[in-house]
Symmetry: C2
């Protein structure tokens, strides 16, 4: 599988962590990309007209996006489903946890775009505040219900792990651990997984 | 199932169209909500800390979000899967089409928030342009490959239908049919489905 890739994207990281956990990482050919909300990357757009990453091209030539779809595709390609539970109750729990992590990331990304991509005179503090309230709401929910992060590995746990890793990467000035000690304890263990260690985000050199 | 609802939200419409198609619409209890990117609706946030809609509460008391998860849950509750194909190739095609429609909507919504929620002095034309380029890219891809919209009804078709309906609702000043005649012909038929007719968006009275 070919994957439009960037080492800084938390959604790409979801795919790579999933691939590592499934033993598929070596089969992924990384294609360079530079997704940006204003400067369109036409290399990506040829596959995904939204010009967002991750986007993948299967060996059969089909295009897949976004991260949820690519992760489920990878999972389905390994005998015995692993990360997307088939049993109903576990499935909705894992998928809603994934949606919570994706939503935390969407809000964090929108805040970051506001502060880094937009001219200073066009920035709006209320927008950043509104998005960061979503981030804080998600963190508070995870801290309150940290038991939802126990049990077998699912796409839900992977997404939360990548979301917290993104906060450490881009929002280090806004530490989250002190107010969320149980979540911090969970993440301290989760971040040690080889799949997470192999995918630590870094700015492109 | 209880559903945080607004008649203007295209993501809520996805859930309602899905429910109508599955014969489940009468079993949905609509809860009032007023999601907004800056003014947090604490009624929604009690269920979904991202304070976005749709969010659902199942008869067992579990919270589900976002629209993708709720739609798949509804589909799984009707014997014989309908809208989320089980066969692999059809599944990835339907889910990627859903991601394209959701991505078109995400971009359209971000444009609309820029123009309506944000003070005029803080608006940035490049941002709107960047998002609308995603919308136009998605429309062009659908026009070029309108054959992806043929075949049995899936969540992919429902999402594209709701996305086009949203453009008609909120971007009527920016007509899309003339440049996309094959897509317009497909939508003219699709929009006649009773599920679409029962869920035409309207501003809250």
């Amino acid at each position: 599988m070919k994957l439009f890739y960037a080492p800084t994207s938390p959604y790409v990281r979801k795919v790579m962590v999933t691939a590592h956990e499934l033993g598929l990482a070596d089969g992924i050919e990384k294609l360079p990309s530079a997704a940006h909300p204003v400067k369109r990357d036409e290399r990506i757009a040829l596959a995904n007209p939204l010009a967002k990453i991750p986007a993948a091209i299967t060996p059969e030539g089909d295009t897949l996006f976004d991260s949820r779809v690519i992760c489920e595709y990878l999972d389905a390609n390994v005998p015995g489903r692993h990360l997307f539970p088939a049993e109903q109750k576990a499935r909705w729990r894992a998928l809603t946890l994934q949606a919570l992590g994706d939503g935390l990331l969407d809000a964090a990304l929108l805040s970051r775009y506001e502060m880094t991509a937009r001219p200073e005179a066009r920035q709006w503090a209320d927008w950043v505040q509104g998005q960061m309230t979503k981030v804080d709401g998600a963190l508070a929910r995870l801290e309150e219900h940290v038991e939802t992060l126990s049990g077998p590995l699912t796409i839900g746990l992977i997404t939360i792990g990548c979301a917290l890793g993104y906060l450490d990467f881009r929002f280090a000035h806004r530490p989250w651990r002190e107010d969320h000690p149980r979540l911090a304890a969970w993440y301290a263990v989760f971040a040690e997984r080889p799949s997470m260690q192999a995918t630590i985000p870094r700015d492109a050199s």
